[in-house]
């Protein structure tokens, strides 16, 4: 093998003819890469939504780049900056919102910081303990876009997406209601209080409530709302009754609503309809009176225990209420008397006649006056009665007193005066007073003097009787004996004469004499009886008479003791002997 290698010594390659492109296909790769990168860039540019600023009072838990804006728990944006406002009073949060959520950001959208929250009615935002706080959105309904918002300090309890309706309640008193307080329909929680505001005049509250669908359809124009807060304890014939809505409502307060069973069926109330919030169920269900008549009553007695709002009843059925109580000065006499104004609802009295729906027209004022005039004529009077002996609560009862002095309602006064009847405890008081007065007027001293005189006379009489009896005993009986003796002698004479006559006169005479003798014997027997029954020292009649007289003497002594005691203690007539 030589130094010089012959090229022909190398093996020959296998020949294949192949078309070669001058331009390499490999250029597709950078083109594809560029297209993809560009595509991503374009997409990220296009997906860039609006940047908004939200003003909050506190920046607690808000961090640029870490805090998200969430709607229904879906990320729709991110906080890009958190800084202080120029006057250092507020926090300006800048957030980038995704393009997809652009339409959520409108003028009336609401923003709030979702933090863990523990309230009596529930715990919310637990997830934020782990994931960190986030900004929640409640999108508004406006079409106008906005970039600057003021954040809410607390999350709204109801977001706009929830089906249901809002209503407005007016109340004098907020009670223990707060935002989130539950709303009950037949004890089912169907909504909650979402806002409340003290009216501009500062006298009433406007409470916004939200009723979830489908329960919102149960809110009719005639529906009554009342405070279900607290516990309603009532004492009735069945004993002690405690009514509550739920334990929760006892703690945090609540509102209940119900439509009266006799309400006319109607369409559900429109959203944002206004209702009155009553203090309790009873007040809520009190009939709303279309007609009312005001009267004034001048009770000539203490009205302690009569409060405004106390019922006015007829036969125990409330037909009105006390609306005012105060003093009335009679300018002529400078006498004071309590003035009680009552509001009576004549429809409750006359409702029966107008039950028929077709003829349900209100009686005219004149008709009402006529009815009341007739009733007063028949003895209708207002009277104070005691509702409860323990609490001394009074109420006004209207009742018929046919014996009452005649009275008329003077319709020219406003309000007209309704005649009164002293009543209740006052009536008893008056009676007792009358008795006492009479007692005081009684000439007790004279009576006792007279009584003593009478007793003296009686005593004397008795002595006379006694004397007489003694005399009868001592004088009359011997006389009678003497008479009898004489009679005996006469009879003997007669006997002698008869024996003399015997011969001459027929035995008939003899028989007659025998008869006479029998009669005399009978008389003698009678006299002997009389002697023993009437005149003997142990005769029963005499004994009884003596007993009776002694009894009278004892009674007279007792009477004397009583009169002496009464003289000293006249009040014992009322209080008794102590």
């Amino acid at each position: 093998m030589s130094d010089k290698t012959d090229p022909m010594d190398f093996p020959q390659a296998v020949a294949v003819r192949k078309k070669r492109m001058r331009f390499s296909v490999v250029w597709i790769i950078p083109l594809v890469a560029a297209a993809v990168a560009l595509g991503i860039a374009v997409q990220s540019y296009l997906s860039k939504g609006p940047t908004i600023t939200i003003v909050f009072k506190e920046a607690e838990g808000l961090e640029a780049g870490k805090t998200y804006v969430k709607y229904k728990d879906i990320h729709v944006g991110q906080v890009s900056a958190v800084k202080l406002s120029d006057d250092f009073s507020k926090i300006l949060v800048t957030a980038k919102i995704d393009k997809s959520a652009e339409n959520l950001i409108v003028e009336d959208s609401k923003f709030w910081v979702m933090r863990p929250q523990v309230t009596l009615s529930g715990i919310s935002g637990i997830g934020t303990i782990l994931s960190g706080n986030y900004i929640g959105i409640d999108p508004g309904k406006s079409k106008t876009k906005s970039k600057h918002f003021t954040g809410l300090e607390v999350p709204p309890p109801i977001t706009s997406g929830q089906p249901g309706r809002e209503f407005l309640l007016r109340a004098d008193d907020l009670g223990s209601l707060g935002i989130g307080a539950p709303l009950y329909y037949r004890r089912l929680n169907v909504g909650q209080v979402i806002a409340y505001d003290l009216g501009k005049d500062g006298k009433s509250f406007e409470i916004k409530i939200f009723v979830h669908a489908p329960y919102d359809q149960f809110v009719l124009p005639d529906t009554r709302f009342w405070q279900a807060s607290g516990i309603d304890v009532s004492m009735g014939a069945e004993g002690l009754t405690v009514k509550t809505q739920s334990v929760l409502s006892v703690l945090v307060g609540g509102i209940a609503f119900e439509t009266p069973a006799d309400a006319a069926p109607s369409e559900p109330a429109p959203a944002n309809a206004a209702f009155t919030l009553h203090g309790d169920r009873k007040a809520a269900f009190a009939k709303i009176e279309t007609v009312s008549s005001r009267f004034v009553c001048f009770f000539n007695e203490s009205i302690r225990g009569l409060s405004v709002g106390a019922p006015v009843t007829i036969l125990g059925i409330p037909v009105g209420e006390v609306v005012y109580s105060g003093l009335d000065l009679n300018p002529a006499t400078f006498g004071l008397r309590p003035r009680v104004e009552i509001m009576a609802y004549p429809m409750r009295i006359m409702a029966q006649q107008t039950r028929d729906a077709a003829s349900r027209k209100l009686p005219t004022a004149q008709e009402r006056r006529n009815v009341i005039d007739r009733m007063v004529e028949r003895g209708l009077r207002a009277q104070l009665q005691t509702g409860s002996l323990i609490s001394g609560q009074l109420f006004v009862a209207l009742g018929y007193f046919p014996d009452a002095p005649k009275a008329r309602v003077n319709w020219s006064h406003d309000p007209p005066e309704l005649p009164v009847m002293p009543g209740g405890l006052g009536r008893y008081e008056e009676k007792i007073l009358a008795i006492l007065t009479k007692l005081e007027e009684m000439p007790l001293e004279e009576i006792s003097r007279d009584l003593r005189k009478v007793l003296g006379t009686l005593d004397q009489g008795l002595q006379d009787v006694n004397r007489m009896v003694n005399r009868v005993d001592g004088e009359i009986v011997p006389d009678v004996k003497k008479t009898l003796g004489t009679l005996d002698r006469t009879l003997e004479d007669a006997d002698k004469m008869l024996i003399r006559v015997d011969g001459e006169i027929v035995p008939g005479v003899k028989k007659m004499l025998e008869d006479l003798q029998g009669a005399v014997a009978a008389a003698q027997r009678v006299l002997a009886n009389t002697d023993s029954a009437l005149l003997g020292p142990d005769a029963p009649a005499q004994q009884e008479l003596r007993d009776a007289l002694q009894e009278i003497a004892r009674a007279a002594r007792g009477m004397r003791v009583l009169t002496d005691y009464l003289e000293r203690n006249p009040e014992a007539l009322i209080r008794g002997k102590n």
Partner: protein
Amino acid sequence: MKPGLTAAEAGLISCEACGLLVRPAHADEPGYCPRCDAELEFRRHNSVQRTWALIIAAAVCYLPANILPIMISNQLGRVEEDTIISGVILLYNTGSAVLAGIVLIASVVIPLAKLIALSYLLITVQRGSVRKNRDRAKLYRLVEIVGRWSMLDVFVATFIVALIQLQPLMAIMPGMGVMFFGAVVVLTMLAAESFDPRLIWDSSKGRWDDDE
């Protein structure tokens, strides 16, 4: 035989697969190796153009690879997106300066260095430069060796995504960046592959290195 003679100049062609020195079938179409049947080429076909294309593609991908997040971690609802740079900063801030350095070098510096090195080689080849031929050849070998290690980032990301899926508590999802990063690594490897180092010597006209 003059010292700078190359096979091409001698009208011969070396099989890149088995090393057999072959006479080409035709000057334009060298044909196939008679021993191992590999396609014969004097120089890799369109080497410069192809390498350029791949480098440009890699460069295009390099930007999103570093801007877009490579990992999206969701810890109890707290979502964090991490790019390569933010990862490096996090590591550095938590005290792992060495790890931060390794990640920075492997994921940011090396791909960029590869792009720059290959571009430098291509430019010098196109200009027919004869300077520092041997250094350039060393540089090329370095680029080729180091290339695959850049995939480490992608591997780590893939592992973490697959392993950490504790759904409600924590989950990690790959970001778009990891795709681009992978593309950068693959494209630079392909670019290094498509570069024909023999081109370095073609302009030397017999002189292997101007230092000699």
